[in-house]
């Protein structure tokens, strides 16, 4: 079979089982778009801005666990995509991003819409390639999907000069069945000696704590984690990226840890004697001041990425491997050991934890007059039965969504944790809705964040993606304002949002439904009304308390036991 480069690309996508490409056309990718146009198997979602395309593919990938695929043109198409690529990179999300490039003969000539895509994206991808010869296209794409989806996943960029997809140049095509790279062989299976050593330490713990992150979700190890945790009867905390890996309604769950974690989670971390870190990377938002982090603990760390181990915190028992495989082995060994060996100490540890839990650190002051943002998220949970896909943007609303929407399943909580990208929420919600049209998808956002990618409401109309936008509008860039209140004596530099659009009219102008909600008593009704409109995107503009803060808070530079409570 002889095919052109554009046709080969499309055939490769089919072979990889890709059903959707999120993208935006332009000069350098016209041959590819022409090839896409002439088939029906691979659908294309036309976005309104390339950043939206990458976030959409990212939301799709986080919701499904499958790689997201993006196609953008050269120059500005590629540079607009960079924020999305960096977002995916920080959260280890598998994406394959095809960027157009100018004709090979023009590369380096400052040609129209030329930019060094490989150079620009190098620091924010897992790997990138430039296809210089159409005969290398199929193998490169095979490698791109392989690298993106294996080991610690991440985005891979494939840069394709226009002449490589020339429809007049046809070459024999066959998609490689396998790929083997001597330079890339991720470790899946953990070292059994280390696993034995870890389990011995774990079952003998007196004040244990299980701390898990996004790696458990990416590694699809939620069931194993739940089994492991229940068998031991140990307390568990999740990072922002790890929420949903363990059912949050379970008694053993102490909530999110870190800067805006619960009192019981952070105190439990601080006082534990054995810390079991699984698929987490000891991010600065999690650890607080490193010199004060878990001062009494021996640490076991399971991670598929060797460079995550002992990067920020030196650990006692490192285990490199896929969390699913390692947890499966650990469960066997825990069973052989007959479970936890220190029931008495464990009981008094739980007594201490229950005292911390009794502080009710997530309580907030109720108001009859003004809508509390936390209340909106709690009602969102009720109205959606706690089972929606919830995306968020970045800021206070993100923390409230994480704190008050109790996630019971993995893949349901979708947010930009590592890079903290405002504008992520709406396109990510559209990507999730595209993957799961029959499921409820809510984007919890704020009036600041939503304006960074609001143009994707147009995409939502074109492809009938009726997500629900829950905007917690406090008229401030809330998290910035909160820091200014705490650490800059209330000097609110540029954190007040003046001249906001009428969001109801904005939604309506895009062909959707807009609602403005001012009173606490209207919150639940509005949510029910919105979610009853199954086939409409509804923008709910909740007018919330402008000066509400996110509590608890570990100030930058403090230890986890030095929280500010309400």
């Amino acid at each position: 079979m002889e095919l052109s480069g554009g046709e080969i690309l499309v055939e490769c996508l089919k072979a990889e089982g890709v059903d959707t490409v999120f993208g935006y056309p332009g000069g350098a990718v016209l041959h590819i778009y022409d090839a896409l146009f002439q088939q029906e198997q691979v659908q294309h979602v036309l976005v309104r801005h390339e950043q939206g395309a990458v976030h959409m593919a990212d939301g799709f990938a986080r919701a499904t666990g499958k790689p997201g695929v993006v196609l953008v043109t050269s120059g500005p198409g590629a540079t607009n995509a960079v924020t999305g690529i960096a977002t995916a990179h920080m959260d280890s999300i598998p994406l394959v991003v095809f960027t157009g490039q100018v004709h090979s003969a023009l590369i380096g000539n400052d040609a129209f819409q030329e930019v060094d895509n490989v150079g620009i994206t190098r620091p924010c991808v897992k790997h990138n390639f430039m296809v210089k010869d159409v005969r290398d296209m199929a193998e490169t794409i095979k490698k791109a999907f392989y690298v993106a989806t294996t080991g610690r996943p991440g985005p891979v960029v494939v840069d394709i000069p226009k002449d490589v997809t020339d429809p007049k140049v046809k070459v024999p095509f066959s998609y490689p069945e396998k790929v083997a790279m001597r330079s890339y062989q991720p470790t899946e299976k953990g070292h059994s000696g280390q696993i034995r050593k870890a389990v011995d330490m774990i079952v003998n713990a007196e004040r244990p704590m299980i701390y898990t992150g996004g790696g458990v979700i990416l590694g699809r190890a939620g069931d194993e984690l739940t089994h492991f945790t229940r068998k031991l009867g140990y307390p568990i905390v999740n990072t922002l990226m790890g929420l949903g890996a363990y059912p949050s309604s379970d008694k053993q769950f102490l909530g999110m840890l870190g800067m805006h974690g619960t009192y019981e989670a952070n105190m439990g971390m601080h006082h534990c004697d054995v810390l079991i870190a699984i698929g987490a990377r000891f991010d600065d938002r999690v650890t607080g001041d490193l010199s004060k982090f878990c001062p009494y603990a021996k640490i076991v760390h399971v991670d598929i990425d060797p460079s995550s181990i002992s990067k920020n915190v030196v650990v006692d028992v490192p285990i490199v491997g896929a969390v699913k495989s390692v947890l499966t082995e650990m469960i066997d060994l825990v069973n052989q050991a007959g479970g936890a060996k220190k029931p008495k100490e464990l009981e008094s540890w739980w007594d201490r934890i229950e005292q911390w839990r009794g502080m009710k650190s997530l309580e907030y002051k109720w108001s009859d007059d003004i809508i509390k943002p936390q209340y909106v998220v709690q009602k969102l949970w009720e109205v959606t039965g706690g089972d929606a896909f919830v995306t968020s943007d970045v800021g206070q609303h993100q923390m409230w969504a994480a704190q008050y929407y109790g996630f019971n399943k993995p893949h349901r909580w979708i947010n930009s944790g590592g890079l903290g990208t405002m504008g992520f929420g709406l396109p990510a919600a559209l990507g999730a809705k595209w993957a799961f049209p029959d499921e409820e998808v809510a984007c919890v956002t704020g009036e600041g964040s939503i304006q960074m990618c609001s143009q994707e409401m147009s995409t939502a109309l074109q492809y009938q993606l009726p997500v629900k936008i829950v905007s917690l509008n406090n008229g401030y860039l809330g998290m910035v304002r909160q820091w200014q209140e705490f650490f800059y004596s209330g000097r609110y530099a540029m954190s007040y949002m003046d001249s906001l659009p009428d969001f109801v009219k904005l939604a309506e102008s895009y062909g959707h439904v807009g609602m403005r909600i001012d009173k606490p008593s209207d919150v639940e009704g509005a949510l029910r009304e919105a979610f009853a409109m199954k086939d409409r995107l509804v923008f709910m503009d909740f007018q919330t308390d402008p000066e509400e803060n996110v509590y608890p808070m570990v100030p930058a530079g403090a230890g986890l036991n030095e929280m500010i409570l309400l």
Binding site: V118, K126, R182
Partner: protein, 166 residues
Amino acid sequence: MRHIISILMENEAGALSRVAGLFSARGYNIESLCVAPTHDDSLSRLTLVTSGDEFVIEQIVKQLNKLIDVVKVQDMADTAHIERELMLIKLQAHDNMREEVYRLAEIFRGQIIDVTESSYTVQLVGPGSKLDAFIDALGSVPVVEIVRSGALGVARGPRGMLVPEV
């Protein structure tokens, strides 16, 4: 502590920039860097000298291994090894200085590879510390320019750096 790190990389365009970019992005120090092809066309060997405590060096090795094009990384400090560096040093050598420069080059087993009425260019091979010692020993001899290759390292014994099987 100073470490010589040897890296075998796929001989792809941009491989060097991945290493250099990693070092600058993560704030690691590069004292010297040398890249050249090997007897295997598909590989290039990169030798760099860096410094840091054991945790920094451990991270550097891990981060290098994480680069998709990197086939093998070896910290020469982990093994008995030989270090060599080439220096070409151009010195002003007028009448009464010529004899002294000549003698110094002899003592350090250097070779004079270019001569003019007013200069000598000396070629010197050895570990970096030997080259430094030569420069120190020059005393008042005026240096015109110094060109150093950066250190190279090779493990002692019969075995080479092992390329993993596919």
